[in-house]
């Protein structure tokens, strides 16, 4: 039996941990609300941008140019090199959030390797970087500090490099893997093919309706290229926000259960503390009584 003092010390330490986890939960829930708001706002932008791309792509397929001629839309060729961009958190203590993403990345890598496709990794977020570095799997590039505070400029800088690799043929496909926010208690792994873009995703149909849309500058390709670039930049930015929201909700849950566990533990410990105390009293009493008995 542990001594009274030991148990007391233990209770105190567990209570301290509980305080920390509770505070972390509160922080996460406040941050989650802010991120959620951000996600909602950028969703509007994303929708409008998609609409616009759709219309221009539609317009292009009316004209003589074939969509799959543009590199961005060429989905027909089998890829030789695939880039996996994955987003993890910079910090831990959020349950299975990071490991789920990493697991999915590993699975994808195995799948592509089986098909004889070369895989290159691009990591965002310290936890993912640490994992792959520890397992000595090389990464093409890595950014830490971006996933905890998504920044449009930094993320577009990052993705522009990926896009130029794609255009110059160093990679044939870009896949983004991140853990996304569904609601307060659920996160889901998202796996998006960023490049080449599937025209079907934008609702481009083979039979095009004719519209008298005028373009300025009067160069479909140039306009579409700028739009696609913006689309890619925005997609990765959105993935970052989505991942951040998911991270906060995951951490909130993890910290909530940690607080509850600490509570249970304090309860258990106080029971054993009380038992130990009672025992000590009983022993003392027995000593006194037996002492008195022997004096008679």
């Amino acid at each position: 039996m542990a001594s009274l003092k030991d148990i007391q010390r233990k209770i105190k330490s567990v209570k301290n941990t509980q305080k920390t986890t509770r505070a972390m939960k509160l922080v996460s829930s406040a941050k989650l609300r802010r991120t959620e708001e951000l996600a909602k706002k950028s969703k509007v932008y994303a929708n409008k941008l998609n609409e616009l791309i759709n219309e221009i792509a539609q317009k292009m397929c009316e004209s003589e140019s074939n969509l799959s001629d543009t590199p961005y839309f060429n989905t027909t060729e089998a890829p030789k090199v695939v880039d996996i961009v994955f987003i993890t958190a910079d910090k831990g203590l959020c349950g299975g959030f990071n490991s789920q993403t990493i697991k999915r990345v590993n699975k994808l890598m195995a799948k592509y390797k089986e098909e004889g496709i070369e895989v290159r990794l691009r990591a965002i977020g310290r936890k993912g970087i640490d994992y792959f570095r520890f397992n000595s799997i090389s990464m093409l590039n890595q950014i830490a500090g971006l996933s905890s505070s998504p920044d449009f400029e930094k993320s577009s800088e990052f993705i522009q490099e990926v896009a130029s690799d794609f255009i110059e043929g160093r990679t044939n496909r870009v896949v983004v893997v991140n853990n996304g926010y569904v609601n307060m208690i659920t996160q889901a792994i998202r796996e998006n093919q960023l490049l080449p873009i599937d025209p079907i995703k934008f609702g481009v149909t083979e039979t095009c309706s004719s519209s008298d849309l005028e373009l300025e500058p009067d160069d479909n390709d140039a306009l579409l290229e700028v739009l696609i670039k913006r689309y890619i930049e925005f997609s990765i930015y959105y993935a970052l926000i989505d991942s951040l929201a998911a991270e906060h909700s995951a951490r909130m849950q993890a910290m909530d259960s940690a607080t509850n566990n600490a509570k249970d533990m304090v309860h258990q410990l106080s029971i054993s503390y009380n038992k130990a105390r009672q025992e000590a009293i009983t022993t003392e009493l027995i000593e006194i009584i037996s002492g008195m008995e022997s004096m008679k």
Binding site: E55, E216, F234, Y237
Partner: protein, 126 residues
């Protein structure tokens, strides 16, 4: 008086969404105005100022860095990367102008573009 709907959307949210009489946009091929019933058009936007003639006949300036506009007969949609609307009372306007200047400078354009934009903003404010 005829109106049409104007929406200005940025990654940070919707800046403007209302009925307007007329809007002047800094297109990449030159500035152009849009009135109700304009032909369908998609254009790139350069750094500059969007001047809105709103339903009450007031002028509103919105500084932008870059983006696109899609015009059709009853609706105009601007998708821009960054935008600052100059509106509100005097204090707010002063702050907004500062923010707008910063935004324009960050767009890495020529000083002439910035100067034109700023003078436009100041004209409208006054």
């Amino acid at each position: 008086m005829e109106f049409f709907k104007l929406e200005i959307v940025t990654p940070e949210g919707v800046i403007f969404d209302n009925n307007v009489k007329q809007v002047t946009l800094p297109g990449s091929e030159g500035e152009f105005g849009v009135l109700p019933g304009h032909a369908t058009l998609v254009s790139l936007l350069d750094t500059g100022v969007i001047v809105i003639d709103n339903a009450e006949g007031k002028e509103i300036a919105v500084a932008i860095n870059s983006g696109y506009v899609k015009v059709d007969e009853e609706k105009t949609l601007c998708i821009v990367e960054g935008a600052v609307a100059i509106s509100g009372d005097d204090n707010e306007i002063a702050a907004a102008i500062e923010a707008a200047k910063k935004l324009l400078k960050s767009a890495e354009t020529t000083n002439a573009t910035i100067a034109t934009a700023v003078s436009k903003i100041e004209k409208i404010k006054g």
